[in-house]
């Protein structure tokens, strides 16, 4: 294994570097988001330590915001964790898609799967069902660092930056992801899938718990069963 993998060391390093650079814009956005998370967490009764530890070990923006909002409104830990689980449910199909690209023992694969965040997962997609895992790790690395750094600044630094929506910063995240969608839309099928997935999620927003609409959109990808059969 080690002898066979040695020639690929350079490839891995290159993938990691390329991923790292690709992750930098998302890391910058994540810094702003996590700063507002830190502020929200303090306002919700979290200590700075709890906010920072949460960012370091959970590292999932929408889930953290959901959980903290529930605690702030007087909810139980169970309710907060359930909301976070629903928010993160999209990582289930993402992990299934990534799974075949992760070699090694079960514990190693499970650990590597923790590197999945939305942008890294999308950019590491190499087509044909394959993912570049070193690109994924490289892209997630700076996002992880700024996620913690932003939480520290927000939870310890106070009121520099209380309301990101005031400056229109809430438009950044969807714009980045729109760019990723456009990169994924290569033909009429992928366009139809994107439109259907988006509309399905939107149609569920008012009736399903937060997080489930996006998970439901992944079911649209089952259309690919027809394609796979055609290719095989």
């Amino acid at each position: 294994m080690s002898a066979a993998s040695a020639p690929h060391e350079d490839d891995r390093r290159e993938s990691f570097r390329t991923g790292f650079r690709a992750g930098l814009p998302y890391a910058a956005v994540g810094f702003l988001l996590s700063m507002s998370f830190g502020i929200l967490a303090r306002d919700s009764g979290f200590s700075a330590e709890a906010a920072i530890v949460m960012s370091a070990v959970v590292f999932a923006g929408s889930a953290q915001f959901a959980a903290v909002s529930i605690i702030a409104s007087g909810g139980t830990a169970g309710a907060a964790v359930a909301a976070a689980a629903l928010m993160n449910s999209r990582f289930l199909p993402m992990g299934i898609a990534l799974g075949p690209s992760l070699p090694g023992r079960a514990a190693v694969r499970a650990a590597q799967g923790q590197a999945v965040v939305d942008a890294s997962w999308a950019m590491a997609n190499r087509g044909g069902g394959r993912f570049d895992r070193w690109f994924l790790f490289g892209s997630t690395a700076p996002q992880y660092v700024t996620w913690i750094a932003g939480t520290m600044l927000g939870s310890l630094g106070g009121d520099l930056f209380t309301d990101p929506s005031r400056y229109g910063l809430d438009a950044i995240y969807p714009t980045f992801f729109l760019a990723l969608v456009i990169a994924e839309v290569k033909d009429r099928t992928t366009l139809a899938i994107a439109v259907t997935g988006g509309l399905l999620a939107l149609s569920l927003v008012e009736v399903a718990p937060a997080g489930l609409p996006v998970l439901a959109a992944s079911l649209v990808a089952l259309w690919g069963l027809r394609r796979g059969r055609a290719a095989a």
Binding site: G45, A50, V53, V57, V58, A63, A77, A80, V81, A85, L92, G95, I96, A97, G99, P100, P103, G104, A106, R109, A110, G113, Q114, V116, D118, G129, S165, R166, A171, I172, P174, T175, F177, A179, L180, V181, I182, T190, L191, I193, A194, G197, G198, L199, L202, V205, E206, A210, P213, V214, A216, A217, S218, A221, L222, R226, R227, G228, R229, A232
Partner: protein, 103 residues
């Protein structure tokens, strides 16, 4: 309160790690079943579009069209016409902030 918070942190850690681990544990290191290839390829457009649409046309569990919707829409035009990402982002922020300031 403190106990509730730490239980929340611990619980979120466990559920997130488990959700992220299921796919790699179940399918790791295998050849991709041919029929799954087509599904995997379509997951990115489906999931990413859902993230974009729900964060642009909804706030929480309510549909919502606001200044940010306009900002992202203008950015979308730039992106579809192959304009640079940084221009799209700056435009999205500027349009959103200006509309908010004007209303």
């Amino acid at each position: 309160m403190t106990a509730t918070i730490w239980w929340t942190v611990a619980g979120c850690t466990v559920v997130t790690a488990v959700i992220k681990a299921i796919g790699p544990l179940a399918l790791g290191g295998r050849d991709i079943p041919p029929r799954l290839t087509g599904v995997i390829e379509l997951m990115a457009p489906a999931l990413l579009a859902a993230l974009v649409i729900t964060s642009t046309f909804a706030v929480g569990d309510q549909w919502h069209v606001g200044a940010n919707t306009a900002g992202v829409a203008v950015a979308g035009i730039i992106l579809v016409r192959r304009g640079p990402l940084i221009l799209a982002v700056v435009t999205a922020v500027a349009v959103t902030a200006l509309l908010r300031a004007a209303t």
